[in-house]
Every structure is written in structure tokens, then in C-alpha cells.
């Protein structure tokens, strides 16, 4: 048994035992080759997006495989992307909508999860049943009645319609509930003895101690709602309230034909904020996905 075959089978942490760390055996070369081919598959769209965003119309039609543009057309393409659709407005809408949703979700979910985890009350069982039910129900299932109701109330094409259905996150309550249960009761008793109200306990004891859960949930929520197309597509027809995915659909509609240069510039601008956030805070993202994933 050589240490190389062992490594390829055993998902080992970088342990010292791997004396082969610097030597390239056949097994290791194959492993690296597979990983690199995989990375190319996952990164290729980004590479072509960046490359095509800098190409002029004619070049796109003649040489799509050369990655570096012969004549840099970045300025032209980005100018088109910025002028045809208000990119700033789209991104701002995205920030406003995701921000409002997150604030409401956290402010509603944390007290509820605290009550369910640390206080005893009659409605707790009913709440738990409703939450388990709610975890099953995506926006796609509630969209029709909500749309009819919002239409009757004439709130379509507004931030209210974009945000309201998501002010409650059963997943958030579920996640916080799991986290709060693990917090020691003594912590809360001590705070109460100091004369804190329940709100005081939540704000000054629970939230600071549950910070990892709050960041994890924040990442989960922002990624989900920044990317959501279904609900904005239904309630927004006015470009002024379009979120980034919907705005890109408008841009595609306005950009009839194959102006891929401008289209790639637009996709780049719209993709950048979240990707940049991910690259800057990778560790938090991965922790967040792991926590929300495994407990969800």
C-alpha cells in the first residue's frame, strides 16, 4: 500500500503523513488533471463573458475562440449596457429589496425563535407545525392568490409587492430556533436577574451570541432574493421597480438581435456585486452555506 493510492481514496486532511505532497506520482497527476478540467468547465462561462464583453460586433462573429480581443471594445460595450437600461437603478433596486427583506425577516424571526426555544407557551406546538408546513411551501405555490390579492389592493409595481411576501421566513425561524436551543439557559436567567426585559435579553444577549447564525442566514437570504426571478417577473412590469434578474430580461428584450458584446457587458455588471462579495467573504459564505444547508 503506497501512500498515494491511500490518499486518492481517503479524503484526508492535509496530514503530515502525506510524504508524497511534493512528488508527482501518476495517481496524483490524474487527480490534478481531473480537478483542472473541472475548474475549466466551471470557469469557462466567466472567461468568455469577460472576453466577449471587450469584442466588437464583427470580431464576435469571426473569432469567438480567441480570448483576448484584437480591438478593445470594452468602453463601447459597457457604455451601451449602461445607457440602454439603467444599471445603477437595477442594482439599487436589488439592494433596497434584498435589504428590506432581510431586515424584516430577521426582526420577525428572532423574537419568535427565541420565544419558541426558551419560553414555554401554549401556541408553541401550533407554531412548530406551521413552520414545518411552511418549509415545504415555496413562493411558486402561493404566488397566484397573492397576485390576485395584490392586484385587488393595487400594490403591483411597488417595493411593497416585492418585499411583503418574504417578510416571513420560516426557514429563518427554523435556523434560529436550532441555534437558540443550544444557548445556555443560565445566560438568559442572569440577564433577567439583572432586570432586563425580554426584548433586552434578545437584543443584548441572544443576538450577540447568535451572530454566526445571523450572518449565515443573511447570506442565504440575500443570495436567494438577489437571484429570484419568479416573483419580480409576476408583480413588476414597470422598469423603475425591476430587480437585477428582471432588468436583465428587459435588457435582453430591448437588445434584439445578437449584440453579444453589450449583452456580456451587462451580464458582467449585474453579476459582479454578488460575486465580488463572495470572493471577499468566501469563508463566511462557505460557513453560511454549510450551516444553513445542513440544518435546513
Amino acid at each position: 500500500m503506497t501512500s498515494t493510492t491511500l490518499n486518492s481514496a481517503v479524503p484526508a486532511k492535509p496530514v503530515k503523513r502525506r510524504s508524497a505532497a511534493n512528488s508527482f506520482t501518476t495517481g496524483r497527476i490524474i487527480r490534478l488533471a481531473i480537478l483542472i478540467i473541472g475548474a475549466i468547465f466551471f470557469l469557462a462561462p466567466y472567461i468568455f463573458m469577460l472576453s466577449t464583453a471587450g469584442k466588437g460586433q464583427s470580431e464576435i462573429f469571426t473569432s469567438s475562440l480567441s480570448l483576448i480581443p484584437q480591438h478593445f471594445a470594452y468602453i463601447e460595450n459597457f457604455a451601451k449596457a449602461f445607457t440602454r437600461v439603467s444599471m445603477g437603478g437595477l442594482l439599487l433596486n436589488g439592494v433596497i429589496v434584498c435589504g428590506l427583506i432581510l431586515v424584516f425577516q430577521v426582526v420577525v424571526a428572532i423574537p419568535c425563535a427565541y420565544a419558541m426555544a426558551k419560553l414555554s407557551f401554549g401556541a408553541a406546538r401550533l407554531m412548530m407545525a406551521l413552520i414545518m408546513l411552511g418549509l415545504l411551501v415555496p413562493i411558486h405555490a402561493t404566488a397566484l392568490p397573492l397576485y390576485v390579492a395584490f392586484d385587488k389592493l393595487s400594490v403591483l409595481n411597488s417595493y411593497v409587492s416585492l418585499v411583503a411576501p418574504f417578510t416571513i421566513s420560516v426557514f429563518g425561524i427554523f435556523l434560529f430556533l436550532q441555534f437558540f436551543r443550544a444557548l445556555p439557559n443560565d445566560l438568559i436567567h442572569a440577564a433577567r436577574l439583572d432586570g432586563m426585559s425580554e426584548i433586552g435579553v434578545i437584543v443584548r444577549v441572544i443576538v450577540p451570541n447568535a451572530w454566526p447564525a445571523v450572518t449565515a442566514f443573511a447570506i442565504f437570504s440575500v443570495v436567494a432574493h438577489w437571484n429570484d426571478l419568479y416573483w419580480p417577473l409576476i408583480v413588476v412590469t414597470n422598469q423603475a421597480y425591476a430587480t437585477p434578474p428582471l432588468g436583465l430580461l428587459f435588457f435582453r428584450a430591448a437588445e434584439a438581435g445578437d449584440d453579444y458584446g453589450a449583452l456580456m457587458a451587462a451580464t458582467f455588471i449585474i453579476t459582479l456585486p454578488l460575486v465580488a462579495a463572495f470572493l471577499l467573504a468566501q469563508k463566511r459564505f462557505v460557513e453560511g452555506i454549510t450551516m444553513t444547508g445542513l440544518k435546513g
Binding site: 491511500l6 486518492s8 481514496a9 481517503v10 479524503p11 484526508a12 486532511k13 496524483r28 487527480r31 480537478l35 473541472g38 475548474a39 466551471f42 469557462a44 462561462p45 466567466y46 468568455f48 463573458m49 462573429f61 469567438s64 420577525v108 423574537p111 419568535c112 420565544a115 419560553l119 414555554s120 407557551f121 401554549g122 401556541a123 406551521l130 413552520i131 411552511g134 415545504l136 411558486h140 405555490a141 402561493t142 397566484l144 392568490p145 390576485v148 411576501p165 417578510t167 425580554e198 437571484n227 426571478l229 419568479y230 437585477p244 434578474p245 436583465l248 430580461l249 453579444y260 449583452l263 451580464t267 449585474i270 460575486v275 462579495a277 468566501q282 459564505f285 462557505v286 452555506i289 444547508g293
Partner: protein, 310 residues
Amino acid sequence: MADITAASIHAAKAKSRSTAERHEARNALILSAPALILLLLFIVLPVAGVVFLSFTDFELGYSGFKFVGMDNYTELLTDRTFRQSLWNTTVYTAIVAPVSIFMALGFAMLIEAEGIGRSFFRTAYFLPVASLLVAMATVWQYLFHPTIGPVNQFLALLGLPGPNWLGSAGTVLYSLSIIGVWQSVGFNLVLFLAGLTAIPRELYSAAEVDGAKSAFDRFRLVTWPMLGPTTLFVTTISIINAVKVFETVKTLTEGGPNKSSEVLLFTIYQEGFVYLRVGYASALTVVFLAILVVLTFIQYRVQDKQVHYA
């Protein structure tokens, strides 16, 4: 002995407790009231509403409606679009879920075993999860372009004929599946990596002592069973997410060509929000919801049976 002391403490506290308990219950109710109200308003009522509407002929823009009993459901049975849509969703899920699960598991094990470039590979594979799908779908449309697209240009270099990926009825579902796999592997991979890291090293040495000599034996005896809960979760979420495919279809194909990429959510969207046949779309939604309920129920059953090692 311990029982007796516990019981006496219980009795002593009982008197002062009832008022404190009532106080606590009232506080708890106040704290959870906003969540309860919003839960009823935005989840319970709409679900009841969609079931109710599915028995009516309600259409948006027309005032009034009448009950039509099971008519919407019987129409479903003979609706060719719905059948096509259900079939396409099934095919898409049958491709995307297993491929993205096994690719993620394979890559996770390779990354875990490899010393160099761990964070680079993880970042590269995870990037699609953090990217706007509508935007990246647009990039894929360019990559898949029949004439100027890099994929077909590359195939041409090799002397191979490139298909009209998103434009022909025979390939469109597979092309969408490639995008689906590309988008979801990273999420599964991160979960598998966490699962792999949590497996105690000693188990591998123990398995080796017990005679698990080959790499495959150790995978079968240690890695696979230890990853059980992670795999179950990843499987459920992959299937559910695949059933919910919508963004790529809406952005790239609008269900075409000739309904060959019509999927469940897209059909619901068309019927309900484009043709405004709310009653009929509600019946479709009820079917969609039933599928989700069944999938979750299966997950719970499997979870109960599963032996937990960790």
C-alpha cells in the same frame, strides 16, 4: 432519591410558578405574534386560497367565478402541454440531480485528498452558486450559439458537427441540464466537503486494520456510510431544486422549441400570469405542491430508517 427531591422542589415552586408561567406565556405570545400573523397571511391563507381557486373557473380580469368541481383536474389529465411539461421536468430532474450529486461527491473527495489548490478549486466550483443565474444563462446562450458560439467553434476545430444546442427540440432539455448541473454542483460540493472533514480519521485506520485494503473498500465501509445524512440532504435539495427549474427556461427558451423545454413552473407561470387562467393554474400549482410534499415525506421516511453514525 433524586426523584423525591425533584418532586418536592416541584411542589414548592408550583404556587409561585403559575403566575410566572402565565407571564412567560404572555410574553412568548407577544414575541411570536408578528411571525404568526405573517405566517397566516402569506403562507397558510394563500395555500388555502390556491386549493380553493383550483375548484373554480376564476380568470383575472373577469369579475365573479363559479365552482367547477374537479373540472380543472380532469382537464389536466387530457392537457398535452401539462403532460409534456411533467415529462420534461422529470427528465430534467433525472439528469441534473444524480449528475450534480455524484460530480460534487467526486470532486469533493478529490479536493479533500489533494494538497495544493484546495481553496482555488473550491472557489472555482462554487462561483456559479453565487452568480446571478439569469445573467449566467445569457452567457451560456452565447456559448451554445449554433454558429458563433465557442462550444460549436471548438467542436468544428475537432472536425465534429455541433448541434443546435438550445434551438432544436432534440437537444434543448440536455443543454438546459448542462446549465443546471453547472449551477448546482458547487452548493453540493461545499456540503460534501463539510461532511468529509467531519469524518474521524481513526475510522480509516480502523477499517484498514480490519482488512479494508483497497481504496474502494474504505469508501464503501467508511466514507459512504458516514456521509449518509449529508447525502440524503443533498439528494433531497437537489431533486427539489431541479423540480423548481424556471429561470433558465424563461430566459433562454420560453418552453420552446415546440414545447420541448416546457417545465412545470413555466407552465404554471404561462397559464396563471400570461393567460390569466387563475383557476386552472391553481390546479397545476396544487399538483406541484403535492410533488414537493411527497418528496419531503420520502426524505423523512428515509431519515428515520437511516442509522446515524455521527
